[in-house]
């Protein structure tokens, strides 16, 4: 456990710059997002909540060139980019947890995703605990917390004028080993602070039988009602830190095979060449999004595929709130139609 004076964090980041590409939240226009840091970057931790654009893009960029190709020969020319070691400073616990959830998809043994793995292996994640969670945050409800350490190499907790740093892995330890060690008093202060913040976050929906319940109401009218005002845009899924669907497209103008984020909320996502669409309306698509996060993820790894970051709630253009949707689902009287 180390202590860093807030005023000195710039010096320590400057020191890392020759070894790492450092990424940290900075203001880009009106809102903050993860951008590369140089010596004069002004970091932005003023907002208590997350960056608007999810840091999953650090590992799974929204658009990524997979390979260049020679069209005439119909052969790949490779072109996977070299990744310099990366230090990601100030990632919130929900987003860090999301990247460890996504590891179960991309960092697999026999058919791992080389693009994801290269970036993950090169990265050190220093998290910033949330001392002031938003009213749209619900990490504690879905098994995380404002000081959750999943996926992190070190966790920073703000303690007055100082940063209290808890190193969690060797990678993290190496970063901070030169700093002064926190006193016992400070350790206690942090523990009190953390449990106070955590305690103040009430669960916002019941998760105990949620999966079973959602499976039960799969064929019910519930989905009609919640999807009625949905626009079918990609805001919730693109900004979601755990949504990982992508599309592979050949950009013929530049002879590159590119992968782009994609979303189950778009009609063309599941449109088949034959014209058949298994999810023809917004109802099925909304259902897929919610079922995937709150049911299918549980089948796969036993954890909910949502980290409670609250972005989908904050930025939905029609004010749909997944917490309310799930509360409605829990209250929805299943008519015993279990389809499938």
């Amino acid at each position: 456990m180390y202590i860093l004076n807030k005023k000195e964090y710039k010096q320590i980041i400057a020191k890392w710059l020759d070894k790492f590409d450092v990424f940290a939240p900075q203001k880009a226009g009106e809102f903050s997002q993860f951008l590369p840091v140089d010596a004069d970057s002004e970091l932005d931790f003023t907002e208590p909540h997350n960056t608007r654009y999810p840091p999953k893009a650090l590992f799974l960029p929204q658009s990524e060139t997979m390979m260049r190709y020679n069209r005439r020969l119909n052969r790949s020319e490779g072109g996977q980019e070299e990744i310099k070691p990366r230090l990601i400073w100030g990632i919130r616990p929900c987003d860090a947890k999301a990247s460890s959830l996504l590891d179960t998809v991309f960092y697999t043994e026999d058919d791992g995703d080389p693009y994801w793995i290269a970036k993950r292996d090169a990265s050190v994640l220093v998290g910033m605990g949330c001392t002031e969670p938003c009213q749209t945050c619900f990490c504690t409800t879905v098994g995380g917390g404002p000081f959750n350490t999943d996926g992190l190499d070190a966790l920073v907790t703000e303690l007055g004028d100082e940063y209290y740093i808890e190193t969690l892995t060797d990678k993290g330890e190496r970063l901070f080993a030169e700093l002064p060690i926190a006193s016992e008093e400070q350790q206690e202060q942090v523990q009190t602070l953390q449990s106070k913040v955590k305690g103040a976050m009430e669960p916002v929906f019941e998760t105990d039988n949620l999966k079973e319940h959602l499976d039960d109401i799969f064929g019910s009218d519930y989905w009609d009602t919640i999807a009625e005002s949905c626009l079918g845009c990609g805001v919730c899924t693109f900004l979601c830190p755990t949504c990982f669907c992508f599309d592979i497209v050949d950009e013929v103008q530049r002879s590159e095979r590119v992968r782009n984020w994609d979303t189950c909320m778009f009609r063309i996502y599941s449109q088949e060449a034959s014209g058949h669409n298994p999810r023809p309306t917004r109802k099925e698509r909304t259902r897929q999004r919610i079922m995937h996060k709150y049911s299918y993820w549980l089948d796969h790894i036993g954890e909910i595929g949502c980290t409670g970051c609250g972005r989908c709630v904050r930025y939905c253009p029609v004010g749909l709130d997944i917490r309310a949707m799930l509360n409605t689902a829990n209250a929805y009287e299943s008519e015993g139609i279990h389809v499938g």
């Binding site: 052969r75 996977q80 995703d113 080389p114 499976d215 599309d247 497209v249 013929v252 088949e272």
Partner: protein, 285 residues
């Protein structure tokens, strides 16, 4: 370490060895692809199991999944039969022997052959989806593999005789003793001496015994939909009926999320599922 990981998105360089039309109306074309590199070839066949599929890849056009229609013992090539349905397949149809293309695979689970050991096997196929079943039959026909399966019944239906695939080879199966072949077309035709009618009806007519038997069904969705209940009527348990699903896919590795149904990814956990497994899945197909 990242440089050393094999990139599953990188297509294997392949070349067309032979290409020929399979049906009279030229809507089906078969391609036999050979490997540019020996290493890829060895690796492919060390993993291949009938029922699996590959992503054929043409730079500038994209990728699309196709079931493998050849057995490993047939030679160092991979066979696909492509039906012309969209822009991608239309382009593939223009390719000829010697043309280069990419392939990723084998992908998916394939048929659970070890599970079927010492059982009677009923193969039921319709249309161009018969391709993977052809691979399965070819695989079993090899003298080394034949003892693994007891009785072998093949029921194959097409819309008309002109659409029957792998004609010459399949016709020769009538001569073989250890294979019971039933071919069918939808409407009567001059010179057709086999079954006439839809596949579910032919299955009813043939009435294979469910004792110590498993059935595999591959065909257009409408055929599968009616054949499965027919088999159940005949006494097959849902655990002994298998089918292969199709869905829009991109990565073929269970990562891009597109072919997700319930907790399964068709490309990785499938495409072969037992009917019992399908009943567990939500109605999202």
């Amino acid at each position: 370490m990242s440089g050393n990981i094999p990139n599953p998105y990188e297509p294997i360089p392949m070349r067309i060895l032979r290409a020929y039309y399979e049906s009279n109306d030229r809507s089906l074309k078969t391609f036999e692809l050979s490997f540019d590199n020996h290493k890829d070839c060895d690796e492919f066949f060390s993993k291949y199991n009938p029922g699996q599929f590959c992503q054929l890849s043409i730079f500038g056009k994209g990728e699309a999944p196709f079931g493998i229609a050849s057995a490993a013992w047939e030679g160092n090539f991979v066979r696909f039969t492509v039906q012309k349905v969209g822009t991608f397949t239309e382009y593939i149809h223009t390719l000829q022997a010697g043309d280069a293309l990419g392939m990723r695979g084998p992908l998916g689970n394939g048929f659970p052959l070890t599970e079927w050991k010492r059982k009677n096997l009923v193969i039921i196929g319709g249309g161009c989806a018969f391709s993977t079943l052809y691979a399965l039959t070819k695989h079993i026909q090899h003298p080394q593999n034949r003892p693994e399966i007891e009785e072998l019944i093949v029921i194959y239906g097409a819309r008309n005789s002109g659409l029957c695939m792998y004609k010459h080879d399949i016709e020769s199966w009538y001569q073989e003793e250890d294979i019971q072949l039933h071919q069918a077309i939808d409407v009567p035709e001059d010179g057709w001496f086999h079954h006439v009618g839809y596949v579910p009806d032919v299955v009813k007519e043939v009435a294979p015994s469910p004792d110590n038997a498993v059935a595999v069904v591959c065909g257009p969705p409408i055929m599968t939909k009616y054949t499965l209940p027919t088999l159940v009527e005949l006494g097959f348990a849902p655990e002994t009926i298998f089918t292969s699903l199709e869905k829009r896919m991109k990565c073929g590795l269970g990562k891009c999320g597109r072919c997700n149904i319930g907790s399964k990814y068709i490309c990785k956990d499938g495409p072969v599922f037992s009917m019992a497994e399908l009943q567990e899945l939500p109605d999202d197909i």
